[in-house]
Amino acid sequence: MRMKELVSKVLFVDLIKGLSVTFKSMVSHAVTEQYPKERSKIYERFRGEPRMAVDENGKTKCIACNLCAMNCPVGCITVEAERDPETKKRVLTRYVFDMQRCLFCGFCEEICPVNCIQLTTDYEMSQYDRKDFVLELNELEKGMEKIKYKK
């Protein structure tokens, strides 16, 4: 046994074995992605940039029930509403989503009775200014304004 160990040590068997793994992966196909050109597959359930859905008339679906704000662990949603004197329904007046504090836990999306607030599969959310992360209703409806880079 000792002899065998010695021979394999002298012949660098351990290193050759390791190097063979390296060489094998050198000739196998690459697993890396060239990011801006190639994009990895994003699964449907991915929790990314928040978005508010609109109905067919372009009006917000939100019924101002405040459930999302109550079910947010960090309290980053603010819902302001007032009662319509004619229909006696609550009407949304302001909806603010502070993305800086969001945990992307998905509780708001889960609880919303009309599927209005949604976490989409968009993942490019960088901004230059912190105030750009505080989204108002119109920004939530059409998506964050993205910075376009010029070459």
Binding site: L15, G18, T22, N71, P73, L103, G106
Partner: protein, 381 residues
């Protein structure tokens, strides 16, 4: 002038060596090998460690206190951020504790899927451990290979839970939604490639002379010491103690699966390395059994929207990838917990650092921090 005459050359050299002062060296908090922000204050004699102290708390976020201000359900996402490398395990530990407190029975299907996801998390955590541990010691290639496989697991997490790291995977009573189509295939495909990949790591490391020199007989801890300090998980099993909560106090459906508990013999860094590699294979075994046996049924139990567990207290722990992760929750009958105490394995494992490092070289401290597999997010909470 007398003094000059008296100096004998050899004596002078000896005196010079003896006069070497002990040097206090601060390692961290931004040292790359401390896996977070850990400050280790080393007292060195030449290059050997004679004393050591850890300074923790740089990552303190007050998770325990925050959970007292939130309802039972809403505190769950914070638990992802304890040991962010295996967020699913933290989810499981917290959710199970609340279920135990509230007396919620989880359907079998949800249990099986929970087992699959947590075992995947175990593999992913061990892969990341191997990657960074090998990187600390100087084996760069292994790092890249491990991340290649970890990517597959993260893809599965993304597919099922919607996030790669901060998964928030479970809800009280079961799962937030049923598993998507293609889940089974993705898991099976991953299980297919895993053994081959593990043998690749083994080819790179197990017999490698540099790896052996850096890990054999480094950071030895005896079983008695390990138990006394409170080590859990692979760090304990590396010393030959056969203790695994999945077998000792089965939770979820672990009593229905066959698997072995690998143990080491010498309690050194090398043994812990072997134990973790074998644990990955055993985790794969569990996953394969579970995925073939997912029962029909509901993925969640009926749980009241506003959960008010009865007055009382409960402790529940699971075998997380790093060791015993326990939650101690006191309920006062309201919608919010009165107290949440987290027993993180990394904190206990870190206590062994001093015992393991004494008498070793500075360079070995890096290897020993690696072998303990600590995550500072969990230590500081």
């Amino acid at each position: 002038m007398d003094e000059v005459k008296n100096i004998n050359k050899t004596n002078f050299a000896e005196e010079f060596v003896d006069a070497t002062e002990e040097l206090v060296l601060n390692m961290g908090p931004q040292h790359p090998s401390t896996h977070g922000v850990l400050r280790v204050i080393l007292k060195l004699h030449h290059e050997k460690v004679v004393d050591l102290d850890c300074d923790i708390g740089y990552l303190h976020r007050g998770v325990e206190k925050i959970s007292e201000t939130l309802s039972y359900k809403l505190a769950a996402p914070y638990m992802d951020r304890l040991d962010y490398i295996s967020a699913v395990s933290n989810n499981l530990a917290y959710i199970e504790t609340i279920e135990k407190l509230a007396g919620v029975e989880v359907p079998k299907k949800a249990q099986y899927i929970r087992v699959i996801l947590t075992e995947l998390a175990r593999i992913s955590s061990h892969l990341l451990w191997l990657a960074t541990h090998a990187l600390d010691i100087g084996a760069m290639t292994v790092f890249l290979y491990c991340f290649r496989e970890r990517e597959e697991i993260l893809n599965i997490f993304e597919m099922v839970t919607g996030a790669r790291l901060t998964t928030n995977a479970f809800r009280i009573g079961g799962l937030p939604q049923d598993v998507p189509e293609g889940f089974e295939k993705a898991v099976k495909d991953f299980c297919e490639i895993l053994p081959g990949r593990i043998s690749e790591y083994e080819a790179l490391l197990t017999k490698n002379r540099i790896w052996l020199a850096r890990t054999k007989n480094v950071g030895v801890i005896s079983p008695e010491d390990a138990i006394a300090i409170g080590l859990t998980g692979p760090s304990l099993r590396g010393s030959g103690v056969k203790w695994d909560l999945r077998k000792a106090h089965p939770y979820e459906s672990y009593n229905e699966f066959e698997f072995d508990i690998p143990t080491g013999e010498n309690g050194d860094t090398y043994d812990r390395y072997l134990v973790r590699l074998e644990e990955m294979r055993q985790a794969r075994r569990i996953i394969l059994q579970a995925i073939d046996g997912i029962p029909e049924g509901d993925f969640t139990a009926k749980v009241p929207k506003v959960l008010k567990p009865p007055k009382g207290e409960v402790y529940h722990s699971i075998e997380a990838p790093k060791g015993e992760l326990g939650f101690y929750v006191i309920s006062d009958g309201s919608t919010k917990p009165y107290r949440v105490k987290i027993k993180g394995p990394s904190f206990y494992n870190l206590q062994a650092l001093k015992k393991m490092c004494l008498g070793h070289y500075v360079a070995d401290v890096v290897a020993i921090i690696g072998t303990l597999d600590i995550v500072l997010g969990e230590i500081d909470r």
